[in-house]
Symmetry: C2
Subunit: 308 residues, 2 copies
């Protein structure tokens, strides 16, 4: 195989109470990428459609992730060309850089006959995240590669687990097209938190995981509460509280800030509810004078998919 | 039915990373209780064998818990006699008071033809805990009544969920017969914790729950880590670090302080490992000059059982 086309999904990191540990993959939006073997050694980004990102491989997350893979593969003679069709807006908070890193390493792994496991690929994709935001976090690349809900229990050692995804869980995401820098969103967090809040948070995290395994949508709904990060970061997102309240009134199970924002996600049981939530998001944001996009999708349980 | 005998299990609250939210029920040790209908209205504790505890119903956790049940039942004319055979040492940290409260309400509920659900019974038993330690906590009475692993997600509103219990999970408990007051154990906790520690803790809690549902003993093992409470409370328990280290070397998956101590629990896969852990506990404690008891049991998935 000399050429492959992949779909690389957007992802929601943090998932309310699961700050820094739980993520999920979307069916929409997602990027498309074409990966080609080339007789000329080295990695080249031949084109990026839909976003203004570095073409130089060492400054591009996909390039860096593939570089990490080829290094481990010990075949510096291999040449790879990468063409990227960006649908996930950089800085949207739905894993734009992670999609590029994840799609690139899954694609190249296919081209090479799958020498690496998905969990190994996560490590390579994390190098893309290191380039993008200064820390090799896994909470977007893990769901992008493994699909479904994922848990990053620990970084040292890296310990990633796929969680069960209830069949009827849908996601509605609104991306307000304003800029929230991840570094700013990090800086406003407190270094210490109240023990009582921390206990409440891990009670919710435990309940969220139990809800996923038990297909208990009501328990999932009750557990989608973030008493630590959301109260601090909500100010970064226009009309956040009104948006959340009205989405829940419209039938959403719950939700919160996607990654470090500005996107906001809501989980629903079934497509009909997810579409009602989308309409509600639209009605809240239409008067605000902020550009935005809304996506409705099931949870993507496959992760990066080969589409051609 | 005029008389019933029940087995009321000991319980482990906190379960390492699951401080204040996760508990589990034991097959041993456990109390036995006889509950009898009486023609004379009111609650009487007729005898307590094996421990020096108040016989006055309003000052006894079993009496108070049954009182709460009868109040809700709106039948003040009912008379109940309670006889208690204590095997769980008060102050051991394995849910002695919870066993009495739980056994009493489950027994009386049987005598009355089961008007209440198990989750309703938890509320009544929590009144016993309020008497015993000043706060109506549920992390012992929930597993004592529901059996298996339980999660208290929230108190306001009360939200309790039974979790899955892997078939081959065994528990070894050592009870060093020293006094650790729950109030002291509470007081030494910090009111604030580092965000990084809190994140690590809820990553572990999420992984523990996932491990229970996935029958993944290795994941359970990796997640049995408490970076918040154990580092503070370990000083209350003789030779805690040596005990834990040697138990893990002997094959334990992991463990920690049971409740607020002084008991220490270890989980193992299979009876053989659990018995090796018991022998290891014995070898660590034998030279210390502290009296102790060691219990080996499966997880009790039934909770309080009617035995006669």
């Amino acid at each position: 195989m000399d050429s492959i086309k992949v779909f690389a999904p957007g992802t929601v990191a943090n998932v309310a109470c699961g700050f820094d540990v739980i993520g999920l993959a979307l069916d929409a939006p997602g990027d498309e990428m074409i990966l080609r073997r080339s007789s000329e050694p080295g990695i080249r980004i031949t084109a990026i459609h839909g976003a203004d990102l570095p073409l130089e491989a060492s400054r591009n997350v996909a390039g860096v992730a593939v570089q990490a893979l080829l290094q481990k593969y010990e075949r510096p003679d291999i040449g790879i060309e990468i063409e990227i069709f960006k649908n996930i807006h950089p800085g949207s908070g739905i894993g734009s850089s992670a999609a590029s890193s994840a799609g690139a390493v899954v694609g190249v792994n296919h081209l090479l006959g799958e020498p690496f496991t998905k969990k190994q690929l996560v490590r390579f994709a994390m190098e893309g995240e290191r380039l993008a935001c200064g820390s090799a976090h896994a909470d977007n690349v893990a769901p992008a590669i493994l699909g479904g809900f994922t848990l990053v229990r620990s970084y040292r050692p890296l310990d990633i687990t796929g969680l069960r995804t209830p069949e009827h869980l849908w996601v509605t995401v609104i991306h307000p097209q304003i800029e929230v820098k991840t570094s700013d969103a990090r800086e406003i967090l407190k270094q210490k938190v109240l023990m009582t809040d921390a206990i409440r948070q891990w009670g919710n995290v435990a309940a969220l995981v139990a809800g996923l395994y038990q297909d208990d949508y009501e328990l999932i709904s009750r557990s989608l509460e973030d008493v630590i990060v959301e109260p601090v970061r909500a100010i970064l997102i226009p009309a956040f509280h009104e948006l959340k309240l009205k989405c829940k009134e419209a039938g959403a199970l719950g939700g919160g800030i996607s990654g470090s924002g500005p996107s906001v996600f809501m989980l629903s049981k079934g497509e009909e509810n997810a579409r009602k939530v989308a309409a509600t998001m639209d009605s809240v944001y239409a008067p605000l004078g902020v550009d935005y996009k809304i996506y409705v999708s099931q949870i993507n349980t496959a992760g990066v998919k080969v589409i051609d």
